[in-house]
Structures are given as structure tokens and as C-alpha cells.
Amino acid sequence: MADLLQTSVTGLLAYQRALSTTGHNISNVNTPGYSRQRVEMSATNPQFVGGSYVGSGVQVNTVRRIYDQFLTDQVRSSTSLQSQYQTTQSLASQIDNMLGDPQAGIAPVLQSFFGAMHDLANDPSSTAARQVVLSQAQSVTTRFQDMSQRLDGLRQGVNSQIETQVQEVNALAQSIAGVNQDILNSPKGSGNSQLPNDLLDRRDQLVNELSKYTSLQTVAQDDGTLNVFIGTGQSLVVGTQAQKLSVTRDPYDPVREQISYVSSGGTGADISSQLTGGSLGGVLDFRDNILDPAINNLGRVALGVADSINVQHRLGQSLTGQSGGDFFNTAAPEVLPNTGNTGTAQVSASLNNVSGLTTSNYVLARNGASYTLTRQSDGAVTDLGALGFPGASVTVDGFTLNVASGAMADGDTFLVRPTYAGAQGLSVAVTNTNDVAAAAPIVTAANSGNTGTAGIDTGQVNSPNDSLKITYHAGGTVDVLDQTTGAQLATGLSYTVGNNLSFNGLTFSLGGTPADGAVFHVDQRVTTPDPANGGSGTISAATVSASATDPNLTNPVTIVFSSPTTYSVVGAVTGTPSAGLTYTSGQAISFNGWTTKLTGTPAAGDTFTISPNAGGVGDNRNALLLANVQNAQSLDSGRTTVGGAYGSMVADVGTRSKQAELANTAQTALLKQSQAARDAVSGVNLDEEAANMVRFQQAYQASAKVIGTASTLFNSLLSALG
């Protein structure tokens, strides 16, 4: 009978434990990361009594955590990716929404500015029209600055996110190490057969939390602890020790934060580029691939507007007869030295032509005797040494680098950001309404005594942006054709390779050994040798003079016809033959940086003059050209208008934001699925627990009944004896 009692007591104890585990499950139904537990039972060893084995009850083998490592890992990696894309999307959508408001973007203010220019062209002497031009220009610069400040606000937001997230990562690493310690201290049964279930869940949950910040790998150790690795294998938690991440400054740009890994006893090393996944990965991805390109893009649009207006404005003449000068002030390209530089070099950069600018940043480096410039967007490397750097200044992709003083030491690097400050640094240079250069500096006139029928057009000033075709001839002469106006600027001009050539306010030179007939192009101030050239001729970058025009532009000259088909140009004309020229009606005639067309039939003795424009307050020629800058393809080597470049930037941000949104949606669905798969195994179902509760309760009651029966049996025996 004692056996019966003993047997049923094992049942009571076992089901008590089963019920308390059910209660534990029910209590933790909403605990994140909790895995349901099951009491595993088996029959106790039977007793050999009277020639047969008699069962002796039930025993609890273990309380098992229902758990699948694979599913947990899947949840973790989905969490990392989802968190990354969600972070990228929420940051990108801020730029997206900023550009989405049609009234807040650059397009409407640009439109108003160019509209004001048209109105000025309609009424060039009106002070009111000039005032409107200046006000609209002010709106343009203010809008660029506003947008730049909002982007800068996002950049600061990125910094503070990096700071808080690094703190969170460090705290989580510390907690994981702490749980590792707790697990290490817990009794684990023989051969680590029984690990503390709830501590494992807590640690998994902490690792899962950590994976929201960055992708990670885990390696379980035999002693029950878990090692955590991030980035490309940097150990964040090893056993009971946690390493630290720290926020450090970019070596080039102190307001740009990066993440460093501090190994035990060592100094911090930048691992920003190695961190992927998680919200840290998302923040870094946003900064590198969306925010920085957007700032550079916006800067390039600002520089594009400013430079193309400036060049045209310089060609004009103000109400008071002064040469136009710059209309906008622009920011020079930034050159940021690495904090680790040991040399003394002061490197400076200037804008050469906006048409050649890209939206990338560049790294200037010295390695031994070699000087290179690497474009970060595509890794293209330019050998600057071959171009004469650091002795001479060199022009690459629209900007010019030179060493202003000192020298670069071996290993020194500089970051060059040609357009980053473009939007922020834009301002209006013209303050007086009289200084808006609506007029052209020259006027043409037909002599009133002319007897022929030829007329002369109002003439135009050649722009340094005109497309030039330079043909080199053996023996040392060049022909220069202005393809924009159709005028021949020089024919058979004596030229020694290496010397400067100056046309339309541009100066450049040919180098190497050009073959006879080699052709070189200058378009939008970008110089290129013709791909079909033989020989080894090169062409230098072109620099534009302060006036952007030929220095002799306003020299008074007279076109004198000696016969209806022959003319000479009398006056201060430089460089090119000017006598005995053949006249064709409608042909462009260009000297001293201006171009004019004569049509009709002149008579011998007829003269036409080109002279400075004095008192021409009603002249709107330059205002008209300024208004049409809007349609000039002044960016991307003459392929894109400034408005088009802004549109591309909007589309680019939109596309990236859309990508992040789609990726976020996809990863959220995947996360839900892997979460569901994990929960299907490990999650608590209350109905199931209710059923179990009833089941265990009944078993417990039955065991208790057996004890009652044992007692009754014992009583019957006692009463039989009594």
C-alpha cells in the first residue's frame, strides 16, 4: 500500500509542476521573446516485486523550452534588415516630403527669377523691373539656403541618432554580458544538460534588441555563454566581457560623426563603413547614399544657376555703363585636410566650369612620389602628378586644385567637396538696381551716308560658353571657329604649341605634339581633344577671364567696303587678318569678342561701325540673354539645364525613397512571417494552456483520489484487524 501512496504522490508532484509551468506560460503570454515551456515526464523506474515489474509512478525529467534556433536566427536577421530599411525610409521620406511640396522647392523661385528677367527685358530702364529682379534673386538664394539648412538639420539629426544608438548598443552589449555571467553562475545539471530557460529567453531577446541597431552574428559556447560579433567580425560580447563602440569625428569633417570600435586596450578604429543592417546601418546608408548626394546635388544646381547667370551678366553692361561683373557670390569648393596629415600643404580649390562638375566628393592623396585624385562616386582615379601637380594647378571635373603654400607629406590626404557648400554659400552680389547689366556693351551702326542696301544687325557679345573648334595645322598655325555663332574667329593664326590661346574671354593652350589637322573642342568651357585626332596633342583646361570677354571688346572699329564683296576692318583689331576679306551676305563677322551679321548688298565706300554702347539705357539685349539662361544646357557637359538638374535630383531622391519604402514593406512582411514561424513553435496559446490546465488539473485530482483510495484501503485493513 505504501507503494500506491508513493506512486500517487509522484503524480501529485509532477502535475503540480506541470500546472505551475502552465501558470508560468500564461503569465508570460505577452512577454516579448518568451518561449513556452513544457514539463517532460516519464514513468519512474519500476520495482521488481514478486517476479514482475510494478510501476512506481511518474517523474519530471526536465522543464523544456520549446525553441528552434534556426527560427530565432531568422527573426533576428529579418529584424536587422527591417530596422535598417525602416530607418532609411523614415529619414528619406523627410527629404521626399520637403521636395514634394511644389511651392517649397527650387523650381517656383527659379521660375519667378527668370520671369523677372523677362519683365526686365520688356522694360530695361525701369527701376521697378530691376528691383523685382533683385528681390527674386534674393528669394532664389534664400530658398537654396533654406533647403540647405533643412538638409543640414537632417545631417545633425543623423549625428544625434548615431550617438543615442551607439549608447543603446553599448548598454545592450553590457546586458548580454551580464546575462552570460548569470548563466555561467547558474547550476546547469550534469554536462550542461539543463540551462536556465528564462535567462536564455532574456538573452535572446537582448540579442534581438541589439539586432535592431546592427546586423550581428552569434556563436554559442559550451559553457552556455554566447559571443556576439558585429560588422566584419568585431567581437562585441565575448563571454562575460563587453566591448564598446564610440562616436568619433570624421578625420576630414569634424561635424560628421562616425562609429569606432574600441578593442580592449587598443585605440578606436572607424568601422562605420563595415556596419550593415539595423538602424545604424540605415542611418549610415541614408547619410552616404541619400543625404550627402542630395546636398551635393542641390549645391551643384545652385552653382549652375549662379555661374551661368554670372558669366552672362559679366558680358553685359549696367545702367550706368559699367561692365556687368558677377551677379551672384558663390562658395568655393571645400578642401578639408585629414587630421592625420603631417605635411604643411595648404591646398585650395576654385571653380573652373560648372558644366564639368559632378556631384561626387574627391580624395586627394600623396603616396610616395605619386599624387592622385579619387572620385568617390565611382572610384575613378586621376594621376595628378602627370598633370604637373603639385607644382602647377590642375583642373579635373570642373574644379581647379592648387597647393597655395607648403608641401604634402607622404600619406597626406585631403577631401575635396566641390559642390557641398554650393547652396549654403549662394548670395546675391548685386545690390544696386542700376548694376543689373541689362544692356550689351557694344552698338552697331550703318553710316548714314551709305549708298548700298546692306544692313547690320544689333550685334552680340561672344560668350565663353560658346562651342569652339580649334584646328591645328603643321607649321604652327591654328584656325578657330565659333560654332555657336558660326563666325570664324581666326584663320591661319600663327601659334606655338604650349603658348596660350585667348578667345571669347577664355584662355587655354595646346600641348604635346598635335598632328596636322588635329581638332580640339571647347564647349561650355570644357576642353576635349577630338577622338579622331592622330598625334599626341592635348588641350589644357580653359580659364575664363574676370570680364569673361575679349579685352578689346569695346574698341571702336569700322567695317569698310572697298567693293560690294570686299571689306576691311579698321581700328584696334588683334590677332587675325583684317584686310581684304571677302563678304558674303548673312555671314557672321567676328572680331574682338563680338559677332555681327550684315545682310544685303553694300556699295563701295559703305561703312559700318561697332562702338561702345554709351547711354543705351533702353538696351535689353543682355537681359534677354539672361532670361534665356534658363533654357541653356549649362550642366553635365552641356546636356542639362539647371531646372533639369533640379528635377533629376528630385527624381533621384524620390527613387531612393521609393526603394527604401519597397524594401521596408518587403522586410516587414518577411519579419512578420519569421515572427509567425517562431511564434508557431515558441509562442504561448492561451486556449492550449487552458486545455492543458484542465488536463493537468484532472490528472492531479485523479492522483489525489488514488491517495484517497490508498487511505480507504488502509482503513479497510485497519478496521478488518480491529
Partner: protein, 297 residues
């Protein structure tokens, strides 16, 4: 498949949230009337919208420019018309003055009128436009172009500049004519219009009219009439361009609307669908959450 209780809960909530956000999106599209609310909704569509917006603004500006050009040319045209009338009157007087029946006295009377015509012509040539600029001064629009130097001498102080205005993407129209070609250098005549009239008055006063005066006046009338026909041609060109601009504007607006505007019928039906979905999600959530085995224990 096993479903955990918390999963059941979060699934229900997330489907309600999904339906809510989709309904909110449809509602936003409907209330703004726009399909593209931010560039990410349709990146290339957004670029098209920006391009078309620029084209619309620019074409509107061309129409403004055309208005301004037309106003300026209309003033020129009416001034030249008055000048022609004045010269016609001068021609009548010249014919009259050359008539042998006139006496020295009557010729003086005619001369008095001709003197007034000289002044009238000078004031026409010095006409200002609505903005106070001299119409026939070339670029020197703030300086009186025609000056009476006395004793029949007249000088032109303007230049030969001609102002043009952009009225279409590739069309510029001249909105002025230099006074030197209109009044000073008259083809077929050896003197300016003013000189011709002045000499006519002097001749009449001296009782020595010459028929050559009539030829000079005819040449002046012909010259001004040539200028007028050029002005008329420009006005026609402006009208042409204006019509073209109008039809471009309409096309741009239609194209922009087709890219960015919401399809109202579709958006309304989407909204209805999301609202129905939301209702179903809410109802099923309440039903499922109400069920628990514990209720029966």
C-alpha cells in the same frame, strides 16, 4: 499551424493599421486632387510634373512678353499712322502751294500751317511709350532723340539699336525701330522728314515753292509706310505666336493634369474598398478576441 495568442492579437491590430493607412492615403489623394503627393510616389512622374510646370510658367511669361511687345508696337503703329496723316496733309499743302494761282500772301498762310506740321512731326518722332521711354531713340531711350538745332537743322541723338522681346521659345520680335531709319535717312530723299517740311515752309514763305518737295514728301510717306508694314508684320507674328502659345499651354496643362491629378472615380472606389476592409478587420478582431476557452471554465 499553431498560432500564439500574442500573434493573433498583433496580426489583428496590424491589419487594422494597414487598412487605416491605405484609407488615409486615398483620402489624402482625394482631398488634394493629386496622385503624386511626394516624389517617391512616382519619381519620373514628378520630374515630368516639374518640367511641365516650368514649360507652363515659361509659356505664360511668353504671353506676358507678347502683351508688352504688342502694346509697344501698337503705340509705334498709331504714331506712324499719325505721321502719315500729317505727311498727307503736308502733301496736299505742297500741291496747293505749287499751284500757280497762289499768291505770296496765301503761300505765307500755307507756310504757317506747315510750320505747325514741322512741330507736330517733331513731337510725333519724340513720342514716348507707356513706360516713359522714347520710342524712336534706339537704345538711348531716356534722351530726347530728335533735336531742332534751328535754321532747318535737325539732329538725331539716338542710336541704331533695336529692342527685341522673346515671345516664344524660338521667336523674338523687334519692338522698336531706330528713328534714324524712320525720320532721318529717307531713301530717295536727300534730307530728313523735318528738313523737307522745314524747307517747304521756308520756300513757301519766300514764295518759291518747288515740286521736288512733293517728291520728298512722297518718299517720306513711302518710307514710313514701309516701316508700318514691318510693324504690322510683327504684330501678326505676335498674334501667331500667341495662338501657338495658347495651344501649347493647353497641351502642357492637360499633360500635367494627366500625370499628377488623381483619377477621382478610382480613388473613391479605393477609399470605399479600404473602409470596407477596415470594418471587416475591426469586426473580425473583436470576434476573435472575444473567444477564449477560459470563458467556459
Amino acid at each position: 499551424m499553431r498560432v500564439s495568442t500574442s500573434q493573433l492579437f498583433s496580426q489583428g491590430i496590424s491589419s487594422i493599421m494597414d487598412q487605416q493607412s491605405q484609407a488615409a492615403r486615398s483620402q489624402m489623394e482625394l482631398s488634394s486632387g493629386k496622385r503624386i503627393l511626394s516624389p517617391s510616389d512616382d519619381p519620373s512622374g514628378m520630374k515630368t510634373v516639374l518640367d511641365l510646370g516650368k514649360a507652363i510658367d515659361l509659356t505664360t511669361q511668353y504671353q506676358r512678353n507678347a502683351d508688352s511687345a504688342q502694346a509697344r508696337l501698337s503705340i509705334e503703329d498709331s504714331t506712324l499712322s499719325s505721321a502719315t496723316d500729317l505727311l498727307q496733309r503736308a502733301r496736299e499743302l505742297a500741291v496747293q502751294g505749287n499751284n500757280g494761282s497762289q499768291t505770296a500772301e496765301s503761300r505765307k498762310g500755307i507756310a504757317t500751317e506747315v510750320r505747325q506740321l514741322v512741330d507736330g512731326m517733331l513731337s510725333l518722332a519724340n513720342t514716348k511709350d507707356a513706360g516713359g521711354e522714347y520710342l524712336f531713340a534706339g537704345y538711348k531711350t531716356q534722351q530726347q532723340p530728335f533735336v531742332d538745332n534751328g535754321a532747318g537743322g535737325y539732329s538725331y541723338t539716338g542710336d541704331q539699336g533695336q529692342r527685341t522681346v522673346q515671345v516664344g521659345p524660338s521667336r523674338q520680335v523687334a519692338t522698336s525701330d531706330s528713328g534714324s531709319g524712320v525720320f532721318m535717312n529717307v531713301p530717295g530723299s536727300s534730307q530728313s522728314v523735318f528738313g523737307t517740311l522745314y524747307k517747304m515752309a521756308t520756300d513757301l514763305e519766300a514764295n518759291t515753292p518747288t515740286p521736288a518737295t512733293i517728291d520728298d514728301i512722297d518718299a517720306a510717306i513711302k518710307n514710313i509706310s514701309n516701316v508700318r508694314s514691318r510693324v504690322g508684320a510683327r504684330l501678326n507674328a505676335i498674334d501667331d505666336q500667341r495662338n501657338l502659345n495658347d495651344s501649347n499651354l493647353l497641351q502642357y496643362k492637360q499633360a500635367k493634369s494627366s500625370v499628377e491629378d488623381v483619377d477621382v472615380a478610382k480613388a473613391v472606389s479605393d477609399l470605399q474598398q479600404h473602409l470596407t476592409g477596415l470594418q471587416a478587420a475591426q469586426q473580425s478582431y473583436v470576434k476573435i478576441q472575444g473567444l477564449s476557452l477560459f470563458n467556459y471554465l
